[in-house]
Amino acid sequence: MADEVILMENICKDFKVLNRHEGLKGSIRDLFSRDYKTISAVKDVSLKVGRGEILGYLGPNGAGKSTTIKMMTGVLEPSRGKILVNGRVPYKDRTANSEHIGVVFGQRSQLWWSLPLIESFKLLRDIYLVPEKEYKEMLDLYSSLVDMSPILNKPVRQMSLGQRTLSDILAAFLHNPEIVFLDEPTIGLDVSMKAKIRDLIRGLNKEKNTTVILTTHDMGDVDALCRRIVIIDKGQKIYDNDIDHLKSYFGSYRTLKMKFAGDRWEEVLIDEKKDDVMDIIMKMQKQEKIRDIKLDEISTEEVIKKIYEGESA
């Protein structure tokens, strides 16, 4: 990974939170209180991301995902550790850093609410000082990837959530940034819109070799887009590897599904190192007659769920 766009070494972020006391007396005490406790949102995270990668950045709510993203975008300053984005320290020069990144937050549009999309594009072109030729080329590329005719002249406030997300993603790539951060881009979208958005992200990543940092709770996004995933929990990095490797993370797991009388299905998670499938089937058969059997590969979703629930060895 010679060409890395993000480098984080032992990054920590602490927040100082006031210890609040109850009741009126407590509130008055809080006014003058110096009684802070420190919460570590991110603990000792190291990470390298190469050019052109699509990295799935996962973790349960409150794991420290957003805090990390905010440090990469220069909004927050790390408490300790070294961080370089495109060779720059983001918080020291937020403006210079933001010229080379794009950010999309799933449910928060960053476009001008009352302006038609094309006018937002023109403003962004001026703000990022994009040369006219590159701007035209980018719009041509967009047209080849997605049908923009229904949205180009529509004010953002009149758009559906899906159209808005699409617009926000297009706007984030407009100045051809080195890195685009996508925070839950498919949240709340229907199946076909999700597929459309995933195709668009994949297309833009391929054409422009843009690094994409994707945070999501939708494993469909991860399966469709990411080769590598990083999982963070309670502020610590607990997984950083290929998505294929993930499935054997706890050993080989499969799901055994058995059908009983009355169309009732029961599922058992099998750890192939510990459990013997035949033993389990026989045990179940003794209690009740099995009508049908299926053996499924464990889905990414289930592995992630197990990791979040802390069942790791």
Binding site: F15, K65, S66, K70, T73, G74, V75, L76, D93, R94, T95, A96, S98, E99, I101, V103, F105, R108, Q110, W112, S114, L115, E119, K122, L123, D126, I127, Y128, L129, P155, D183
Partner: protein, 273 residues
């Protein structure tokens, strides 16, 4: 506002961006015609009501602390004009606390332009224009009756001190709005500060003792009309030192308010996602 490290994004760049946002914004506002008409009517009514109160007051007290009707009218008009920029260009301050609380504010931190500029450029409030027209009309009337000679110098002085006066109200509202980065009840701070603007139309000499000190040095609403207006009304000899220094104080105060606002942005943790 032109405070960026990149010289390629200088004052010209920001003026150009602002102009383009403004043109687009006006276009879209015009398309919501009912909204536009109702808010214009509202603004006219507010100003008429304000003026009627003023007029009735003066029917009963022909003089206030040595100020006659036309001088008072001048001060009234002066304050209306001076309050226009804060209404037109800095109205988004009223939305700041909602955006900070909801976390939406973070979007202003992802663009390679000044955060304060970007935030303020998003809203241009048309209602301020009605107030401006009303103020200009009243000012011309009062100016004529007082009999101030119409010279280039007098007009230039008027513009400089109107600009000065507007800086003070903008700065007060910047500071009031920026308190939301630290405290929950910043809405009250803003409402109270905005109420004070009604006092700007009276000569600060009617306030005595502690209030005079407060309105001059703590919440400087005496600068939102009274001190700068004295420079236009009187000669440089009769105006107090604070009037003469008001442009400098105004620039300094605006700069401080801007720094305070930006400090809030920096201090704010952006917790939650």
């Amino acid at each position: 506002m032109e405070n960026t490290k990149k010289h390629k994004r200088g004052l010209g760049f920001y003026l150009n961006i602002y102009r383009k946002i403004l043109v687009q914004d006006l276009k879209s506002k015009m398309s919501y015609r009912a909204d536009f008409i109702i808010s214009t009517i509202g603004m006219v009514m507010t100003n008429v009501a304000g003026f009627v109160t003023f007029y009735i007051l003066f029917r009963n007290f022909p003089q206030v602390n040595g100020w006659d009707y036309h001088h008072m009218l001048f001060l009234y008009a002066f304050s209306l004009i001076a309050l226009t920029p804060v209404q037109c260009f800095f109205d988004n301050n009223w939305n700041l606390r909602f955006m900070v609380q909801s976390g939406d504010f973070i979007k202003y931190c992802f663009r390679p332009i000044n955060v304060f500029f970007y935030f303020m450029s998003e809203v241009f409030d048309l209602k301020g224009l009605g107030q401006l027209l009303f103020g200009v009309g009243t000012l011309i009337y009062a100016w004529h009756h007082i009999g101030i000679p119409v010279t280039f110098f007098a007009i230039a002085k008027l513009l400089v001190f109107l600009f000065t006066a507007s800086l003070f109200m903008i700065s007060i509202m910047n500071i009031a709005a920026a308190t939301c980065f630290w405290i929950q009840g910043s809405g009250y701070v803003m409402v109270i500060m905005f109420r004070f603007k009604d006092y700007t139309r009276y000569p600060a000499s009617i306030f005595s003792g502690i209030f005079k000190i407060i309105f001059t040095f703590v919440i400087p609403i005496a600068f939102v009309a009274y001190y700068p207006a004295l420079m236009v009304l009187g000669s440089a000899h009769t105006a107090p030192l604070l009037s003469k220094l008001s442009p400098l104080i105004g620039l300094l105060f605006f700069w401080l308010s801007y720094k305070f606002w930006m400090l809030g942005v920096k201090k704010y943790d952006f917790t939650g996602s």
